[in-house]
Symmetry: C3
Subunit: 265 residues, 3 copies
Amino acid sequence: MPVQSGPGAGPEPVTGYSGRMIVLFTDFGLEGPYTGQVKAVLARDAPGAVVVDLFADLPPCNAKAAAYLLPAFAREFAAGDVFLCVIDPGVGGARMPVVVEADGRFFVGPGNGLFEMIRRRAKTPRLFEITWKPARLSASFHGRDLFAPVAARIARGDAVPGEIRAPDAGPAADWPDDLAEIVYVDRFGNCMTGLRAASVAPDAGLEAGGRAVPRQRTFSDVADGAVLCYENANGLIEIAANGSRADRALGLSVGSPVRVLHARG
Amino acid sequence: MPVQSGPGAGPEPVTGYSGRMIVLFTDFGLEGPYTGQVKAVLARDAPGAVVVDLFADLPPCNAKAAAYLLPAFAREFAAGDVFLCVIDPGVGGARMPVVVEADGRFFVGPGNGLFEMIRRRAKTPRLFEITWKPARLSASFHGRDLFAPVAARIARGDAVPGEIRAPDAGPAADWPDDLAEIVYVDRFGNCMTGLRAASVAPDAGLEAGGRAVPRQRTFSDVADGAVLCYENANGLIEIAANGSRADRALGLSVGSPVRVLHARG
Amino acid sequence: MPVQSGPGAGPEPVTGYSGRMIVLFTDFGLEGPYTGQVKAVLARDAPGAVVVDLFADLPPCNAKAAAYLLPAFAREFAAGDVFLCVIDPGVGGARMPVVVEADGRFFVGPGNGLFEMIRRRAKTPRLFEITWKPARLSASFHGRDLFAPVAARIARGDAVPGEIRAPDAGPAADWPDDLAEIVYVDRFGNCMTGLRAASVAPDAGLEAGGRAVPRQRTFSDVADGAVLCYENANGLIEIAANGSRADRALGLSVGSPVRVLHARG
């Protein structure tokens, strides 16, 4: 089967869908009632919208790791789609509630750096401070009480209920354009980095966990148990081990540093 | 940001949604096929109904803990919504299958005490014994074969397929109105109690795990690592630790007792 | 309550649903973005189709175990429904992408033995090799890029985008008709085997973990903590322990062998 991969690879453009999606991107966890409570609000406030559970298990309270995952996963979605992003350790504190509009997509959530890479990489980003207030607001669950109603309003076509600010007037984070760290470990022990494949040489490997990790196309290109790095299906450099868990083989977890090994010539 | 909290706090009333929701409240677990099989039945029998996964990970086989969680989470839902509640260790045995109608909402499931607090707190509860029988009924999965079809029928507007009984004719449980125990531990290690915030003094703290746990408004009101209790976003008293896990800090799990410490004047 | 069980038991036929379901049957795991990314493709390519999460936690990379689970769970679904099945350790390699049509239902996924029991047990199976190619295909995520678009096309009524092959021309697996092994362990520690209840005597027990496991109707037929085997709600022989975990009691996990103990006449 012919395989095409490389910067920008992803599913082909789709047709026939005219509605807007609301995409959940949170650290709520798979357990418990929080995602369900948010979906109940969305179903009432934006009936008919398709709600997609993209991530519920982002590294808890880690806005920085999530900031590098968000653009990699958002690129598959279309103009008009709305991302409800809740990684909000400062809930109830002073952080600004925001909406970022980036190339037609909308990102709703706390202004704590979570949207920093989305903003930097967008052609014409717009920043809104959410000024709408719900009639009642709990101290600990703004995802349900504030951000979900705002996402629903945008998904049903209302104007963003906020005031526009200069795009860099929000809380900017002093973070690099690509992050040489592990930002997510998946079920299989594969370790996603915050490095875009398009930002490193096509044959550049990594150093991780004290070992060299060679660049390959896919798992089956290396021996059983061997480690490799490759461009994952979302354009990020990811570390895996053929037939076993890379996180255990290399002692990696979220936050572990990696280093790009530039190929010779 | 202005924060309003207190008894009855929750998302503001919503508009624009005319359908009925079916809310899943079970101990099926996140894994495996059980929730999916139930949803397939609901999709066929009540096409168009919105199905919300509220809880799939309630403490297994623990109808008592669930009985105190249910009214706290049900209060956000509207008249006409249907709760499909399955915590059913006695499946295949003698417990009565019931529907409780409480202030316009419907609760479908086993009559094993699960609806005791819903019934006690409702203005005009009605109890039905389910008399409808499916053509085929497995010995071990009445959630799929009996309760899901009944919930679907109610959601699509049919009459409750059962016979009305005196509200207290069902299996009553000799449980207190508020439960001074941990009833759920969430992903973050926060420990929900069966105590309604409206039932204790606004400044009353708790004793839990052998330690005093002071009452606060939210996490950020205490030092890093310190424990606190507060009214959670669903009106229950909950124990947390700022930036860490309260369950580990205090050695708490489902069933651990707590004691209300009445504030000095 | 009267209980009817036995071969073919399941929910009664349903009415009122005219659409097609897309059923997810994968080892993607509960965590992470993979299921969400697949659902986003389905929502765009087959708007309005009901998507049911049947299994996301099948034993990873174990097409054989899944091959015996699939027909047991597929029997509840109707003609026209589409199964999107992804257990694909050979992604990016030489395995053939296929669609199997079996008694009106469609099964889309890798040709690695996953559909072997579906094909064998169908009255008039048809095998298609998928010949359609997406404009872009990642090296590691054909579930999203190839199989999901194909499933969506079939669900919306398009012809299967492939070429018909002789039903046994695909990759046949030299596996028995019933598998005397554990193929899934559920949340409660119940252990499903690959044995159909209809294939063994109604009173046949099992030997598992070095112990005899008697055949019963349901949990409550044995003493607390005792082990039993019974026909589960999907027609498979399953091992459980009343009020505790059978996997721990007997030391069982996926792949553990069992042996049928034929009852003395």
